[in-house]
Amino acid sequence: MSLFDHKLSELHELLHKKEVSVTDLVDESYKRIDAVEDKVKAFLTLDEENARSKAKEMDAKLGTDESKGLLFGMPIGIKDNIVTKGLRTTCASKILENFNPIYDATVINKLHSADTITIGKLNMDEFAMGSSTENSGFQKTSNPWNLETVPGGSSGGSAASVAAGEVPFSLGSDTGGSIRQPAAFTGTVGLKPTYGRVSRFGLVAFASSLDQIGPITRNVEDNAYLLQAIAGLDPNDSTSANVEVPNYAAALTGDVKGLKIAVPKEYLGEGVGEEARQSVLASLKVLESMGATWEEVSLPHSKFGVSTYYLLASSEASANLARFDGVRYGYRTPNAENLLDLYKKTRAEGFGDEVKRRIMLGTFALSSGYYDAYYKKAQQARTLIKKDFEDVFAKYDVIIGPTTPTPAFKIGEKIDDPLTMYANDILTIPVNLAGVPGISVPCGFSSTGLPLGLQIIGKHFDESTIYRVAHAFEQATDFHTKRPQL
């Protein structure tokens, strides 16, 4: 048994009673990384020396008031698009291969105040653009449940490292499903908070109106504790919301009596696999047996989500990624004749194909003569998609459906066909467009032994209800206790 099979609250108790030391926890991480990392390839950078010396310092504080915080001494992995001062941050891109940030992201500052220990930085699709982590400029991460399949993306390293037991929790980021889809593919719990719930300061921007940082964990309770630590208003992020952060753990009552669940027919219809459908119907039965009720509803504009998303996210990305020009930081081409040449060659040599595709799509959608037809049209479609959710949430507490249409696909299967890859995000994208929170929790296994995810979507800033439902479901099932054999 791994120490990380314990919940966060149990690990805290073990530390408190001095049955386990912080050094033991950090050891557990690096030993597991030594044992399985050549198969999983979840990490881009390890911070072992710092982690170990920090653990030693913290062990001296064990049993004192300073060790009372719930996250004290907890090892964590960080997606490599969240800047960490002095610790290489690459966004899995060659253009940032040797980039050492000079400040910490707000979420990292918050984790430091809570005394967590950063184990290392996790692989991802380059600049978070992708659904399989195959777009990493450095390595392909494998799904611990079947090494020939993808871990999902773009937070593939964050999800795979937790599923493989290399770290007990991690942070990811979610622009169109990048936390929830990998969580579904790896049998972990992943939350995309409400837009504005968690500061984006220090998250390297992909699509600023959609990006959110969130936790990936092995159970719902841990997830709630992690969100508690990172949520809240930040003066450094003008899009972070001035909305009180409730006590999320207090929501984990196990009680879903009278809960009204909406199940969009579009989430169980065309394009959604039979196994995903059946696992959701079975999950609804579980919640029904606990006193919740469900009805079929419609989110009529769902099918426009993917188009809307790719136009908006790519447009925003084309602007955000303009900063990578080889001047102030990052890779610079050695072959430039003049400044224009320097920009063009640096970017051509530094970015991978998917990033180039999206920058060009976005530049096109924003360019003179096409702006109204593509960008503005997509913004209007976004309004309709957002209204779909508002209409349903006027009558229901949560929306439930599958996280993904199918379980994890094979490495290499979709990489040459962008549109097929994009279709994978059909059930997660509308949630980002509407800005509402969503979680993926394990809800079954495919006939081939791959995890399936249940997506629970809530109202703006109502993560508490999502957690309550997810936790009640988890209490009644044992999917989250299964571990991959590595």
Binding site: F99, N100, I102, Y103, Y195, G196, S209, P235, T239, A241, H301, K303, F304, V306, S307, T308, Y310, S318, A322, D325, V327, R328, Y329, G330, R332, A336, E337, N338, L339, L340, D341, L342, Y343, K344, K345, R347, F351, K356, R357, I359, M360, L361, T363, F364, S367, Y374, K376, K377, A378, Q379, Q380, A381, R382, T383, K386, P418, L419, L433, G435, H460
Partner: protein, 96 residues
């Protein structure tokens, strides 16, 4: 009907400051054409009286107090610069 021509792809690549080869221009033309073609399904939607959403939360013009704060130290800021001299970032000549 093609939605984006090879010439347009080259123009867009120039606007985005991306050097592309002839082969890449061909490949990206095919791929971008397919993606844009797919995105044109949005034309099925009547959006004539629909407001555009650029931000999902009801907030605008978030201001901080107009008070000077210390910036990052120059040495720190220059630490990641690929080429620097005398406390400045150095780039190749701008004019031919």
């Amino acid at each position: 009907m093609t939605r984006i021509s090879e010439e347009q792809v080259k123009h867009v690549a120039h606007l985005a400051r991306l050097a592309i080869t002839e082969d890449e221009a061909k490949k990206f033309t095919t791929q971008l054409d397919a993606i844009i073609g797919f995105a044109e399904q949005l034309n099925e939607l009547d959006t004539s009286n629909v407001e555009a959403t650029s931000h999902v939360l009801d907030m605008k013009n978030v201001m901080r107090e107009d008070k000077p704060v210390e910036g990052l130290p120059r040495e720190e800021v220059l630490k990641n610069a690929p080429d620097k001299q005398d406390g400045q970032v150095r780039v190749p000549s701008i004019l031919d």
